[in-house]
Symmetry: C2
Subunit: 359 residues, 2 copies
């Protein structure tokens, strides 16, 4: 086994989730990640935690979804999730377009049926990470070996130092009420964040981490945004997304590629047409786009916004949590001709923060 | 995908378990069996059943067991099992000796901790089957392709015809009180089966099936038995087992190979030193030993007995069910110099039943 797999497992168990004696753990990995599963089982045994090993198979999910005429929440999955303390989930797989022929309405119906059980999972300790496979390497246009280096370097960052760097942006957002994001000709968006909290992602729920994120007030988003970076969702690439918001709601949308998939996502439910998250990427060690949101959204010189569910821990008591079966992140490149303003003051210009040298 | 995989899945779903709308299904397969998992997910979707996909990984189990200092029943696994209607479990794996370096006491302790949750599983609809992998082909001394033919032929038998053939033996055992098994110099064993029921295994809980089985009365086993065929258990081969019974209990035991593992099994608990099952192999289509109990115990010309837990459905109301965390089958070759007598009458001689031509 590559020694970096054991290090990855140690980071998950120590830093990201803090697995300890008596914890009931769910380990959900694609079959290609068996080495990581073995390492996590070893750690679980060593600490007196109890693993249940689920398979994360897009092939099986696709077959199930395509054959189904409707979905209901399964009682056994709910029972399992309710009794679980820690979820460790890794993406991987040999073909990222494995579920490209599941239609958007089917995905939306499935997500609606699973919304509540997913909320149960998100209420526990959890970590989403990546196992480097040939499929994701291909998506990134990289050799498998170079992609392995990329992933294992990214997860083994000095997370304490990263958190410290990010703390500056947490303070700015926590003290601020209104964020305005301008980039090129396509993006001029104002987000009310008053009363909501900014969280410092240092590689806990997402590994790698490296962002500061909050939720906009549910009705407080106005303007236009053009997302420069494409995203993969349900095995297909959505490119060139434009959204126009009024009073928090998407009032018009378009995409240069796979607009039907975007429409399907926005049509999932009421909450899927509102923003649940605003995130500022601050991880400069991730130095290339790999078309994998887990990494891309953490990059320096980017911001991302997610249509769909908000993380309840980012929403203040007086504000309403945006609920949805969806949560789809999309990225704006902030490296050129771009500024972030908070309460009228520029806090980032062309990717450089106000608290950094060279601002 | 090999079309025989889909046929295998259909047999599991239709014949063995009867998966139907609303069923909560657990599919637990080794990673090599992903094709079978995909086919089972497709069928589940088609019928409105809900799958949870567990990984069956000896590598992960080994790592967990070796690292642990003790075991407890995990609440999340219990919750999952309690809410599940149908379990589909397939063996497979690339190396059948994957857990050869887990010590017998550790396995015994693990099984004791899991005894109750295993009982929950056995109280549901379940099917244990085989996916043909290189590891099991090697164990059988066969090419992988020939082993695939062997497995898929075996699971696609005409199960109705097989059940009909076996019904003759069910009648004999149900009407009988005492079974005496003699074979060569090593085996002369008397088993009291009065009040217990014989079941006709036509490929339901075991796929392939092909045996008639019952439970001896807990205190009613006397004499000696020599098991001609080796067995694989916990990744090691146990060979040349001799057991001597008095009043149902093993009073002495030996093995020509890996006796410590046999001792560990018998030492698991009180019930592991008593017989939980007597089975008569009647599947003549399985025409070679493959050192895989799921197949070997079904062969014609054999009987098998299991130390450990009895199947409650074979035990009459006035008799006690033998309980144990173990259930280990062992085989006697009945093809030569052998007879089965029931209440003093010979019902099988050198493998040929009283109701067959050539008796």
């Amino acid at each position: 086994m590559d020694p970096r797999v054991r290090e990855h497992a140690e980071t998950i168990a120590n830093h990201s989730t803090g697995i300890e004696a008596g914890d009931d753990v769910v380990i959900q990995l694609p079959k290609e990640a068996e080495d990581l599963a073995v390492a996590l089982h070893e750690i679980s045994g060593d600490r007196g935690a109890n693993p249940v090993y689920l398979n994360y198979s897009k092939r099986a999910d696709r077959a199930f979804k395509r054959a189904s005429e409707g979905f209901e929440e399964p009682a056994h999955r709910r029972a399992l999730y309710e009794e679980t303390d820690v979820f460790v989930i890794a993406r991987g797989g040999l073909n990222v377009t494995e579920d490209a022929d599941v239609d958007p309405e089917t995905n939306a119906a499935y997500n609606r049926a699973m919304e509540d059980v997913k909320r149960t999972r998100l209420s526990k300790t959890w970590c989403l990470t990546q196992f480097p496979t040939s499929g994701h390497a291909q998506l990134a246009g990289m050799s498998t070996e170079a992609y392995e280096d990329f992933v294992w370097d990214a997860v083994s960052l000095d997370w304490e130092a990263q958190r410290e760097f990010q703390a500056g942006m947490v303070d700015i957002l926590d003290e601020g009420d209104e964020v305005r994001i301008r980039s090129g000709d396509g993006t001029d968006l104002t987000l009310d964040i008053s009363g909501n909290s900014a969280l410092n992602d240092g590689g806990e729920k997402n590994l790698p981490g490296g962002e500061v994120f909050t939720a906009p007030v549910r009705d407080g988003v106005d303007g236009e945004v053009y997302f420069d970076l494409p995203l993969y969702r349900y095995g297909r690439e959505i490119e060139g997304v434009r959204l126009r918001f009024e009073d928090g709601e998407v009032v018009s949308h378009s995409a240069e590629r796979n607009e039907d998939l975007l429409s399907g996502i926005l049509g999932t439910d009421e909450g899927a047409r509102r923003l649940g998250e605003l995130g500022i990427g601050m991880n400069r060690q991730i130095d290339r786009f790999t078309y994998n949101m887990l990494f891309d959204e953490k990059m320096g010189d980017t911001v991302h916004m997610a249509v769909g569910s908000a993380y309840p821990e980012t929403v203040g008591e007086e504000n309403e949590v945006n609920e949805s079966a969806e949560h789809v992140d999309m990225i704006v490149d902030m490296s050129e001709d771009s500024v972030i303003e908070v309460d009228g003051e520029v806090v980032q210009r062309n990717g450089t923060f106000v608290f950094e040298e060279g601002f």
